[in-house]
Symmetry: C2
Subunit: 710 residues, 2 copies
C-alpha cells in the first residue's frame, strides 16, 4: 500500500520536496539502511510515518471522503509488515509462495476503493484488480476476512503436507490478517477463530488494529470482553503491542515471532489511535470523514512539513522502500530455480503440483463419473456421493468439508483422511493430518463457506472447496456464499435435505424461500437434480464452472430413477423430458419433485385425456444462458400454458410458467411424504388442479395471461 | 416436560406399575417431600431419573426415531430445573412473570415435535402450541436460542427498570437457556454471549449440556477451546457441575446461585453423558436414533425395571411432581393480587403496564405520525427518522437497536436513553441504564435480530423490537429475520442503503438479489417506500402488522418528494401514481427509484409520444393480498404491457410486469448517481429502452408474451 501511494504521488505530478533529506543524510540506499544505528532508524521511521499520515490525510481531503482515521492509525503496522516482514513481490504479484495478506477491517479497503472511484479516475485509471495488488480476497462485509485468512492458512498447510519434502519446502508462506474492532464482534469471525485455534494453524497471524472505535462510538459501548483471554482460550498465542502508532521495532519483532510460531496461531493486539495527530484523534468521527483542510494544515505544522504542500514524498522516503521490489524478485527467482529441481526429483508430485498451480484438473476427471447408476430409488444426496466421492478421492484440488453433518451429506470417500493437526487425539478416535482433505468444520456453516472462499482464493482453482450442509443452513452461510460468487471463486456447495421432502425437522429446516435468493444471486448456479443421472450432470457442470460458484441441492428422501433424464440436459438448465404431439400443457418438474411432473402428466392423460409434455428444469441460470431458439423450443410458453411443480415460493418461475403448484407459507413438521400430502402435492390432486386450470383459461382470457398459484 | 410425559403415559393406557413404592415408602406427598432425609431424597431422585430415562427410550423406540441420547443425558438438569428452581405455572402457561425457558439445543425440541408427528397423533393430538408449554420460542436452527434468551432477559431488565418500584417487584422472572455443544459453535450464539456479558444480564443463565458429542463425533474433532475461560473473558460467571447425570442437588444449588447472581450472567457447565445407560452411551450415534429394543430391555434390567413393561411411571414418581401445578397457581395468585395494588398506587405506570401486558399501543399512536413532510429532497432513511422517532420516543413498547450504524440509520430520537448496565462507563462518554430503549448491539447483525426475536417473544406485542442496519447486512441476519416471521413475531427491521444508489461501498454492500429472498419469505413484508409520505405508510403498515415482521427498505441518498404519493397506498402494496387515458404502457416504480418511473413517463410523452401510466409498487406481498379486481385495475397487465424499473434482480417481478429495467449482475463501486448511470438507469436511456420495447412487441407477438430484461 505505501508503495502504491509513492508511485501515485509521483504520477499525479504533485509537488515533491525533500523534508527527509536531513533525516536521511548519510543513509542512502547504497550505504545500506541495515547499517543504520537504532537512533538513525528511529528517525527514519518517524519521518516515514509522518509522511504516510499526511499522504492519507491529503488523499481523503482531495475528494472530501474516505476513511482516514483507521489508515493513519495503522501506518506503523503497515511499515512493519510491508517493509520488514511480508514476503511478496510487487512486480510478480501472483508469485505462488508469497505471503498472503487479508485486510479484514473494511476501512482501508474502502479507502483504496474510493481512491479509485470515478472522481479520481485520472489518478489511477483502469485495471481495478491490479490496484489491489497484495490484497488476496475481497473481504467486504465485516468478519469475512478473518475466515478467509483461516482458509488461506489451511491451503498452505495442506499443500505443505502433500508436496513439501525435507529437502524442498516449495510452499512456506505465511498468512497475515489485519482486523479491526468490528471484525472481532462478528459471529463468522468468532467461528473461524475458534476453528483456527483448534487446527493449530501456526502459519496464521491476526494483527488486531485495536483503536477501540467503531461507528457508534467507543468499543466499550458494546463490547467489554477481555479479548486477549478469549483468544488464548480459543487456542491462540497473544502478543501485546502497547504503542502501535510508533513502535515499528516492537511490531516487527512480534510479526517475526508470529512467523516462527510452532504451536498456535498468533494474535497480535496492537493498540493504536484512530486519526492520530488530527484534531479528531481517538474519536469515532475520525473513522469515516476527511479531516478538513485546517486540521491537516495543523498536522503538517506539527510534523514540520509545509502546510501549503500536498502529497509530499521525500527522496529518502522513496529510497527507504526501494529495496522491496528487488528483494521480491529474488524470492521469485529462488523459487523458480528450486521448483524445476523439485520436479526432477519428485516427478509425479511435481507434475501434480504444477497442474494445480496452473489451476487445472487431471484431464481424465470425467472418467471418474459413473456412466450409469443403479435403478433402485436413491436419495439424490446419496447420488451426490456416488458421483463425487471417487472424484474427491483421486483429485487433490478438492478440499471437502461439512458443518457437522457427515452422516447426512454423503461426502466421505473411502479411506478419506481428515484435515487436522497431526497431534490431535479425539475422544471418538478419529484423527487426521494436514494432508487430509476432509474437513470437519464443526457447527459453523458461515465460517465453513467463508473459509472456503479463502481456500479458493489461495490461487485460481488450485483448490476447489466443497462445502456441505442442509440446504436451509445455507441461509446461515449466505453472506459467504455471496462473497464467493462475487469474487468468481469456484466453490461447490453440496446442499442436502432440500424442499419439504426433508420432513420431520419441520418449518425451521424446510427451505421455502431460500431458492429464490440463490436463483437471483449473480454468478451462482443453483441446481436441483432430479435423480442420479441429473446429479452427475450437476457435478459435471459445477466442476466445469471455473469462475462460478454452484449449489447442488439434493433430497434427503429416496427418489425414483428416471429413464428419461440426461446429464447433458442439466448443463442447459432445462430440457425436454417427455415430448407429446399436440400437447395441451407443458409441465415443469424440478429436482426432488421431478417425478411428480411425470406422474401428473400420466394421470392427466389417463383420467382427463389431457396431453402434457414434461420438461426437467434443474437450473434457471443455466437455462437463461441458452439461445432464444433453444429456450422457446423447450418451453413453448408462447404456444401452450406452462405449469411448474415445486414446493417452494414460486418467485422467479413466473418467467417460465403461467401457473405453479407451489408453497407460499412456511412448511410443517411431518414426515416427507405426509408433508407433501399436507400441502397438496399428491399426484391426483395436482392433476386435478392442472385440469381445472386448463378448463378455466379456455374461457377466461385474462386469467390465461396472469400468473396463477394453483 | 417430565410432567407432560407422566400425563401421556397414563392417557396412553400403557401398563403402570409401582417400582417406586419401595423407594417412596414413608415419603408420600402428604408427609411432605421436604422432610425427607438426604438419603431418602437421593433414592427418590435415583428412581425419578431412571424412570425418565426409560420413558425417553421407550418413546423413541415406539416410532423408531427421535433424539433419545441428549434427552436422557439432560434428565437430571430437567428435574433440578422444573421441580426445584423454575417459577412457572403449568395451568397458567402465559403467567406474565413466569421464568422463561429456552431450549436452544435442538435435540429435545425435535423430540417433542416428532413425538407429535403424524405417527403419534393419537398420543397427543391437536393444539400444537399448547404442547410446547413452557418453551418460549421456536429456536430451530442452532445458536438462535442463546440470542433469544438474551432478548428475553433484556425484556425483563427493561420492564423492571421502568415499572418496578421499591415496594413492588411486579417483574422478577429469570431466563434459563439450555444449550448444547453445537450451539456454542454458532456465530450468532457467540455474538449474543459477548453482548450479554457486556450488558451484565445477571437474570440470565445458560445451562450447558456438556456431553461433548455432535453429529460428526466427539466435539474435540472440531472444537478444543477452553469454554469456561472463554465465557469468563466474555463477562460471565462460570459454575462447573462434574456429575451432571446424577447430581440433582449440585445442579439445584448452581441454579439457585445463578438466580441470585448480582453482577453477571451465569454459565453452568454441566458434564453429562449422552445416552447414559444405553449401549451407545457417550457416542455420537446416541444422538439421533432409537436405541433398539434389546438395548432398552438391558437398560431396564440394569435399572431393576421390568423389561417387558413400557412407559412405566410409579405412583410415587407422580406424587413427587404433584406439587408443581399448585405451587405455580400460588405464584399466579400472588401476582394477580399484587398487580391491582400496584395499579392503585401507580395509576399511570399501572395503566401503561397493563396496556403492554395486553399487547396494545396507546390508541393515539397514529397521531404521532407527521401529517405531511417538507418538500425538499430527503433520503428515505431520514424520512424513517421523521416518521418513527416521535413514536419511539413516546411509546415504550418499542425497543430500538442498531448494529453499529447509529450515524447512518437515523433511529435516534431526542433524549433517547441507551439500554445499558447503569454502572457502565464508556470512553466516548455515552452511558445509559436498563430503562433505556435504544440498543447499541455492536457489529452483530445476526445477534441483533435473534435477540429481537427474544424481546418480541417475551409476551405478545409487549415489546415491538426495531432493528436497523444497511439492507445488505440483513443477509447476515437472515436466519433470525426468518425465525421472527415464522413465529409470527412483530419485528420491524429498518434497513437503509438499499439498491445501488448506496454507492461507493460497492458490490459487497449493494443488495442486488436480497430483495428476492425477502419478497419470497412467508409472513414478511418487504416494503420499499418512495419518499417520506410512503415511508409514513410503511411504518403505519408495519406497526399495524401485529403478527408479521416487516423490513422497511430505505435509501441512503436523497429522493425527491412526490406530490402523487399516498401513505394509504402503501398498505395496498401498489397503487396508481399517475393515470393516463389510453395509456400505451404501465410503468412500475419502486422505492428509491420511484421518481425514475415518473421521469421516464414524462420523457416518453415528450420525446416519443408514448403515453405511460405509472404505479408505485412498494410491497409485493401486500399487493397479493388485495382483491383480484383491485389488482387488475391497478396493473392492467391484461390490457397493456407493464415495465418495472428497479436495479435489483427481477426475480418475482415477472408476475406483474412484461419487461424490466433491472440488474442481474453484482454492482459496482461508484457514487450512487454514477452507479445508476453505469448500469443504464438514466432517464433518457430508460425511456429509449421502453420505447424500443414497445415498438418491437408490435410485430413480435412471441416477445410480447415473454418476460424481457431491457
Amino acid at each position: 500500500m505505501p508503495y502504491v501511494e509513492l508511485e501515485n504521488s509521483q504520477a499525479n505530478g504533485h509537488g515533491q520536496i525533500d523534508y527527509g533529506e536531513n533525516v536521511m543524510k548519510g543513509l542512502r540506499k547504497e550505504e545500506g539502511f541495515k547499517k543504520s544505528t537504532t537512533q538513525q532508524l528511529s528517525e527514519i521511521h518517524d519521518h516515514v510515518l509522518k509522511t504516510f499520515r499526511l499522504l492519507i490525510a491529503d488523499l481523503c481531503q482531495q475528494f472530501n471522503g474516505g476513511h482516514p482515521g483507521g489508515a493513519i492509525g495503522m501506518a506503523a503496522i503497515g511499515v512493519a509488515l510491508w517493509k520488514y516482514v511480508m514476503r511478496y513481490a510487487p512486480h510478480t504479484p501472483d508469485y505462488f509462495n508469497r505471503d498472503r495478506f487479508v485486510l479484514s477491517n473494511a476501512m482501508t479497503l474502502d479507502q483504496l476503493k474510493s481512491y479509485h472511484s470515478d472522481r479520481v479516475d485520472a489518478l489511477c485509471p483502469g485495471h481495478p484488480e491490479i490496484e489491489h495488488e497484495g490484497i488476496e480476497v475481497t473481504t467486504g462485509p465485516l468478519g469475512q476476512g478473518v475466515a478467509n485468512a483461516v482458509g488461506l492458512a489451511m491451503a498452505t498447510k495442506n499443500l505443505q503436507a502433500i508436496y513439501n519434502k525435507p529437502d524442498f519446502d516449495i510452499v512456506s508462506n505465511h498468512t497475515w490478517c489485519m482486523v479491526g474492532d468490528a471484525c472481532l464482534q462478528e459471529g463468522v469471525a468468532l467461528e473461524a477463530i475458534s476453528f483456527a485455534g483448534h487446527l493449530k494453524l501456526n502459519n496464521l497471524t491476526i494483527i488486531y488494529d485495536n483503536n477501540q472505535i467503531t461507528c457508534d462510538g467507543s468499543v466499550d459501548l458494546t463490547n467489554t470482553e477481555d479479548v486477549n483471554t478469549k483468544m488464548r482460550a480459543c487456542g491462540w498465542d497473544v502478543i501485546d503491542i502497547e504503542d502501535g502508532c510508533f513502535d515499528i521495532d516492537g511490531i516487527v519483532k512480534a510479526l517475526k515471532k508470529a512467523r516462527k510460531a510452532t504451536e498456535k496461531p498468533t494474535f497480535i493486539n496492537v493498540k493504536t489511535i484512530i486519526g492520530l495527530g488530527s484534531a479528531v484523534a481517538g474519536d469515532a468521527v475520525a473513522h469515516g470523514a476527511a479531516f478538513g483542510a485546517a486540521d491537516i494544515a495543523n498536522m503538517k505544522k506539527m510534523y514540520k512539513f509545509d502546510p501549503e504542500q500536498h502529497f509530499v514524498v521525500s527522496r529518502g522516503m522513496r529510497e527507504f522502500f526501494e529495496d522491496i521490489p528487488a528483494r521480491g524478485q529474488e524470492w521469485v527467482a529462488a523459487w523458480e530455480k528450486k521448483f524445476p529441481l523439485y520436479e526432477e526429483k519428485y516427478p509425479e508430485l511435481g507434475a501434480e503440483f504444477r497442474q494445480r498451480v496452473e489451476g487445472r484438473l487431471p484431464d481424465n476427471w470425467r472418467d471418474l463419473v459413473p456412466a450409469q447408476f443403479p435403478d433402485k430409488p436413491t436419495a439424490s444426496r446419496a447420488s451426490s456421493g456416488l458421483v463425487f466421492n471417487p472424484i474427491a478421492k483421486d483429485i487433490k484440488n478438492f478440499m471437502v468439508g461439512t458443518a457437522d453433518l457427515s452422516p447426512s451429506v454423503n461426502m466421505i470417500w473411502k479411506e478419506k483422511v481428515d484435515f487436522q493437526h497431526p497431534d490431535l487425539k479425539t475422544t471418538c478416535g478419529i484423527t487426521g493430518n494436514y494432508s487430509g482433505r476432509y474437513v470437519h468444520y464443526g457447527v459453523r456453516e458461515h465460517a465453513m463457506c467463508a473459509i472456503s472462499n479463502g481456500l479458493a482464493a489461495f490461487a485460481p482453482n488450485t483448490f476447489i472447496p466443497v462445502t456441505s450442509s442442509f440446504f436451509m443452513f445455507y441461509l446461515y452461510a449466505a453472506p459467504a456464499v455471496r462473497m464467493g460468487a462475487l469474487q468468481h471463486l469456484q466453490i461447490i456447495h453440496a446442499a442436502t435435505h432440500d424442499s419439504i421432502g426433508m420432513g420431520e425437522d419441520g418449518p425451521t429446516h424446510q427451505p421455502i424461500e431460500l431458492a429464490a435468493l440463490y436463483r437471483a444471486m449473480p454468478n451462482l448456479l443453483y441446481i436441483r437434480p432430479g435423480d442420479s443421472e441429473e446429479t452427475a450432470g450437476a457435478w459435471i457442470t459445477a466442476i466445469d464452472a471455473k469462475k462460478t460458484s454452484t449449489i447442488i441441492s439434493t433430497s434427503r428422501q429416496v427418489l425414483p430413477q428416471l429413464s428419461q433424464t440426461k446429464r447433458e440436459g442439466v448443463a442447459r438448465g432445462a430440457y425436454v423430458l417427455e415430448e407429446v404431439k399436440d400437447a395441451d400443457v407443458t409441465l415443469i418438474g424440478v429436482g426432488a419433485e421431478l417425478s411428480f411432473a411425470l406422474d401428473v402428466a400420466k394421470d392427466l392423460r389417463q383420467t382427463k385425456s389431457v396431453k402434457a409434455r414434461v420438461i426437467s428444469f434443474p437450473c434457471q441460470r443455466l437455462f437463461e444462458a441458452q439461445s432464444l431458439e433453444y429456450k422457446r423450443d423447450t418451453l413453448r410458453k408462447h404456444r401452450i400454458p406452462v405449469v411448474v411443480i415445486e414446493p417452494y415460493a414460486p418467485n422467479g418461475w413466473e418467467r417460465y410458467a403461467n401457473a405453479a403448484i407451489c408453497l407460499t407459507r412456511f412448511g410443517h413438521s411431518l414426515p416427507g411424504k405426509a408433508a407433501y400430502k399436507f400441502f397438496g402435492f399428491e399426484v391426483g390432486k395436482m392433476a386435478s388442479k392442472v385440469g381445472e386450470y386448463l378448463e378455466k383459461i379456455k374461457t377466461d382470457s385474462i386469467l390465461r395471461e396472469e400468473f396463477v398459484e394453483l
